[in-house]
C-alpha cells in the first residue's frame, strides 16, 4: 500500500494531466479476489438528499487523513474504508430536462444513464451496476440480488415533478425499463431468505416440481398471448417473461441443490414487522443483508436508507423537521446543523453494519474482507442539487486512504472497477470512460 501511495504522491504533482490515479498496487489488497471458499460480495448503501460535503470530506489526502465529523463514527473501521472524492454523475444533471434532480440522483447513481423524463409512459434509465453483477455472478446463489429500503414509496404527490416515482424509489434497474422495487418489510425479507414455513425436504421438492410445471404452462401461454399482440403491446409482457424465466432458473438451482431448506443463522430471528425507531429499523435491515451474505443467499445487494427526496423526520435524534426541506438550508446554520446530525446518524448505522461484517468469519478471514460496501448519495450538496464531487466511500478488506479524483471523473468508472473485482469484465457501463483502479 505504501508503494502505491508514493506513486500517488508523484502523480499528484502532475495534477490534471493524469486523468485517473493509478491504484493498481493498492487495490489487490483492497479486496481479496473471489475464491470458491469465500466469494466477493457487493453492496451499495444509499442515503437521500445529499450530504454536507464540507463536513464529509476529509481535509487531507492520502493515508494520513483525519476522519471528518460525519465520518467519525467509522473510526474503528478507518483502515477498512477508502474515501473517494471528485466522482460525478453527470447524467444526474438537468441536461435540458429542467427540474427533477432528486429523481435523477437515484436513477443515475448506479446506472450512469440520463433517465427519460416521464411521469408514466415509457420509463427508461439504464441497467444498474448491481444488476450487471447479479446477471453474471447471481446464477450460483439462491437470489441474484436483493434490494432493500427503509422507506416505501406510498406517499401521493411526493415524487419529483415530471418523473414517475419509480425513479425515486429504487437504485436497481434490471433492464432499462424495469426498476426493481426494494423490500421494506424486514419480516418479508426474512421469509424470502429463510422460508416462510417449515417444510420437509420431500414436500419442498414436490412444490418445486409443481412450480416448474406451472411456469412451463405460463411460458407456453405467454407465447400464445404474444402471438395475438402487436409488437408495441409486448413491452411489459416481455419483462414479465424475463422474470418468469429468472424464477424458473432459481427453482432449477434449488432442485439441483437438493432438498436442504436453508436455515437462518442463529444470530438472527424472524422479525415481526417494521420497527418504529429508525436506527432499529436500519440495523435490522443491515442484519438481514449480512445474514444473506453470510449464508451465500446472494452476493449482491442495494439498500436505500431513505428514498430520494425523503421527508422522514428523525425524531429519534430530536429532529422533527422533514429531511428534504431542511437540506435546502440556504446557509442557515441552524438547519445545517440538523442536516449534519442526520448525516452522522446515517453513518452510525453503516458503522454498525461494518462491525457486524467484521465479526463474521468467512473463508480465510471475515465477511468484511470479502465484501465491497459502497456508501454514498447521488447528490453532493442537497441545497444546490449538485451532482458533481459526490460523497462516496468503499469499505472492504483494506482502505485507510482518502483519494481525490480530478475534475469530473465519472462515478461509473468506479462501478466498472467494482465489477472487475467481482470477476465481471465489461468494457463500459453508462457514461464510464475507463476504470478507476487500473
Amino acid at each position: 500500500m505504501n508503494k502505491s501511495l508514493s506513486r500517488r504522491a508523484i502523480l499528484r504533482g502532475i495534477g490534471a494531466a493524469i486523468s485517473l490515479p493509478l491504484l493498481d498496487a493498492m487495490v489487490p489488497a483492497f479486496a481479496s479476489p473471489s475464491t470458491a471458499d469465500a466469494p466477493l460480495r457487493l453492496a451499495f448503501i444509499y442515503v437521500p438528499n445529499g450530504i454536507l460535503m464540507d463536513q464529509w470530506t476529509p481535509l487531507a489526502e492520502g493515508p494520513d487523513f483525519e476522519l471528518s465529523r460525519i465520518l467519525t463514527p467509522l473510526a474503528p473501521h478507518r483502515e477498512n474504508v477508502l474515501v473517494l472524492s471528485g466522482l460525478a454523475q453527470n447524467n444526474g444533471r438537468a441536461l435540458g430536462d429542467a427540474d427533477g434532480d432528486h429523481a435523477r440522483a437515484s436513477a443515475t447513481y448506479l446506472t450512469g444513464v440520463h433517465p427519460k423524463k416521464t411521469d408514466g409512459a415509457g420509463i427508461h434509465a439504464g441497467i444498474s451496476v448491481d444488476q450487471v453483477a447479479a446477471s453474471h455472478v447471481g446464477a450460483a446463489t439462491r437470489f441474484p440480488s436483493i434490494e432493500l429500503a427503509c422507506e416505501d414509496g406510498r406517499l401521493v404527490g411526493a415524487c419529483d415533478s415530471g418523473y414517475s416515482c419509480a425513479y425515486n424509489n429504487t437504485l436497481s434497474w434490471r433492464t432499462p425499463s424495469m426498476p426493481l422495487p426494494p423490500e421494506v418489510n424486514p419480516r418479508a425479507v426474512f421469509e424470502r431468505l429463510f422460508g416462510a414455513i417449515d417444510e420437509n425436504p420431500a414436500d419442498r421438492l414436490n412444490r418445486l416440481s409443481d412450480e416448474t410445471s406451472i411456469l412451463d404452462y405460463v411460458l407456453d401461454d405467454t407465447r400464445r398471448l404474444n402471438a395475438q399482440l402487436g409488437a408495441s403491446d409486448r413491452g411489459k409482457i416481455d419483462e414479465y417473461l424475463t422474470s418468469v424465466r429468472e424464477i424458473e432458473l432459481r427453482i432449477q438451482l434449488a432442485e439441483r441443490d437438493g432438498a436442504a431448506t436453508p436455515d437462518a443463522p442463529p444470530s438472527i430471528h424472524k422479525p415481526s414487522g417494521v420497527p418504529a425507531d429508525f436506527a432499529a429499523y436500519a440495523r435490522l435491515m443491515f442484519d438481514l443483508m449480512a445474514a444473506a451474505f453470510q449464508t451465500r443467499a446472494t452476493r449482491v445487494s442495494t439498500f436505500m436508507l431513505g428514498r430520494e427526496g425523503s421527508t422522514r423526520a428523525y425524531r429519534e435524534i430530536g429532529i422533527s423537521d422533514a429531511h428534504h426541506p431542511i437540506t435546502h438550508h440556504r446557509g442557515n446554520p441552524e438547519l445545517i446543523e440538523k442536516v449534519a446530525r442526520i448525516n452522522v446518524y446515517h453513518v452510525q448505522q453503516l458503522a454498525y453494519f461494518l462491525e457486524n461484517l467484521k465479526s463474521m468469519p468467512d473463508g480465510d478471514g471475515t465477511l468484511l474482507d470479502h465484501s465491497l460496501i459502497v456508501y454514498g448519495s447521488g447528490m453532493s450538496d442537497g441545497n444546490r442539487h449538485d451532482h458533481g464531487n459526490l460523497p462516496v466511500l468503499v469499505a472492504g478488506k483494506s482502505g485507510g486512504e482518502h483519494v481525490t479524483y480530478p475534475g469530473e471523473t465519472p462515478m461509473n468508472n468506479l462501478h466498472l472497477s467494482l465489477l472487475d473485482r467481482m470477476g465481471v469484465h465489461i468494457d463500459s457501463l453508462g457514461d464510464s470512460n475507463g476504470e478507476l483502479f487500473q
Binding site: H124, A158, T175, L229, S232, G235, K236, E239
Partner: protein
Amino acid sequence: MRLCTLFALALTLRAQSATPPPETTARRLNRYEYNASVRDLLATPFQPAGDFPVDDSGYGFDNIAGVLSVSPVLMEKYLAAAENIAKAAIVPPVAPAPSVQRYSAREFRLKVDFDADYDILIAVRGTASAPQATFLIDSVPAEDVRIDSASEGLRAVQFRLHLGRGTPELSVELTPSDTRLRYVEIRGPYNPAPPPLPESYARVFRCGHAPGHHTLSCARANLRDLARRAYRRPVTEEEISGLVHFVDMAQQRGESIDRGMQLALEAILVSPRFLFRVEPSGKLDEFQFASRLSYFLWSSLPDDQLFQLALGHRLRDPAVLHAQIHRMLLDPKSRALVENFGSQWLQTRNLASIQPDPEKFPQFDPALRRDMQQETQLFFQFIIQGDRPIADFLSANYTFLNDRLASFYGIPGVEGRQFRRVELPPDSHRGGVLTQASVLTVSSYPARTSPVLRGKWILQNLLDSAPPPPPPNVPNLDEKAIGASMSMRQQLELHRANPACRGCHSRMDPLGFDLENYDAIGHWRTQDGNFPVDSGDGPEALKQYLLNDQNRFARCLGSKLATYAFGRKVSLPSATGNETFSQLVEEIMTGVAHE
C-alpha cells in the same frame, strides 16, 4: 433449462437497452386490483397482495400501465400467493383432532368452529358435601349434575353435550353458592358434522359434487368457467387443455382431482392473462371494454352481468352503458373508486403517515386522524352513489360528521360516534373538500400552515396546472419569525420580491392565503401567533372563484379520472362542470374511449 440461459438473458438485456421502449398497453394489476380480483373470483377472505412490493406511481396514481412492471421479486410473490390462495380456496376444511381448553372463570365465551359433541368437565375445590352444578349455554340451563364427593382427590364431573357453530356464552352455577370452582374443561370436537364448504369451493366446483367425487369432465367445465372469469374473456379449448393437463398430472401421480384443480388454479393466477389487462391503442374489443369499465369503477373483474353484455355486444349501447354505470356506482364495490382514485386525487392517502407536531397540535390523535379520513371518504362516496353534481366537491352545503369531528369543527348538535350526513349551518366555515380537515392537513407542514403548499395543492388538484418545484438554493421562509416577528404574509412578500420566485408564487400564494383561517390540522382560527390571521378574500370567495371557472375544475377532475381509468395520461377537454358524477364517467367511457 440450463444455466447458460442466464447468460443469454444478460445478452437479451443488453440488446434491449439499445432500443427505446415501446408504448405500453398491457396493464399489470396493482396490489389493490389483485386483492379485489381474487376476492371476486374466489370469495377468499384474505388480502394476498399485502406482502407485494409497493406499486410505483405516475401522474399521481398507482395504476399507470407504463410504470407497473413484473420484477422477479414480484413474480416470486405471485407464485407464493397463488399457492396459498389455491390451498385456501380448494381444500375443504378438516375437523381438527380433539383438543382441551381449560377455563377458571364461571362465565366465558367459547368459539365453536365445528358442529359437534364436546366433553365438559367441571372441577371444584374439595368440600364435604356433594355440590350441584348447572351448566348453561347462553343463560339457558343445559345440564344439571351432582358432583360426587366420595373421592378425596379431584372433585369433578364430566358429561357430553352437542354444541353448534358460533360463540356461545357458557357458564356454571354451583350450589351451595359458596362452592369454589377450580376450572371447566372443554374437550372436543367429537363426531363433528361435515363442515360447510367454503364459498370459494363452490366458486371453483360449479358442478356441485361433494369433495372427492368430482369427475374429469366436470373438471374441464369448471376450469372453463374459472379461466373465463379470471381472464375476463372466453377461453379457447387449447387454453383449457393446458389447464386440464394439471388435473391429469395429479391423477397420474395418484393424487385427487381437487389437487389437480389447485395446480390449475395456481397456473391461472400467475398467467399473464390474469395479471395483465391488454388494452390495444386502437378500439377495445367488447371484453376489453368491460374490463376497463369494471377496473375503473370497481378495481376488479367484470361480474357476470357485464360479461354477458359484452358477450352479446350490447355493453357499448348508450342506454345499456348508462344503466350499467349507475348500477356499478351504487354497488358497494365502487368503494374502490373512493379508496384508490379519491385518496390519491385529494392526496388524503398521505394522512396515514403524516405527523403534525405533537407540541403544537396535541389534539391530533389517531381517532381524529381516522375521523378526518372518514369524513372525506363518506363525502366522496355520497357524491358518486347519490350521483351528485361534481360542483359539490367544491361547495357542498353538507358533510359527514360524528360527535368528535363536529366538536373539532365547532358544529353543534351532532351526538354519538357514528358518522351521519349533516346539513351545514351558514356560519360553519365548512363545505366542499377545500374545507375538510383531511385536505387542510395534508397540504400543511407538520408545524404550520403553508399558503404555498395549499396554493400548489389547489393548482395541481383542482385546476390541473401544477407549478414547477422551486429552483434549489432559494431562500426559505424564516420559520422562527413566522407569527413572532413577522406575519406569514410579510414573510411571503419578502420571498416574492425575488424575481426567480415571483412567477409561480403570484399564482400559488393568493389561493393558499384564502385558507389561512384553517390551521395546519384544519381547525378554524382567527389568530396566528401574535398576528391576526390575514386570510385574503377568505374561503367563501375562493370557492366562488373556483365555481365561476367550473369548467376548468371539471376538465381537471375529468382528466385525472380519465388518466386513472386509462392508466396513461389522458385529458378530457369536453367536460363543462355541469355534469353529475356518473355523467363524467360516461363522458370518459364514451368520448375519450373512442379517441
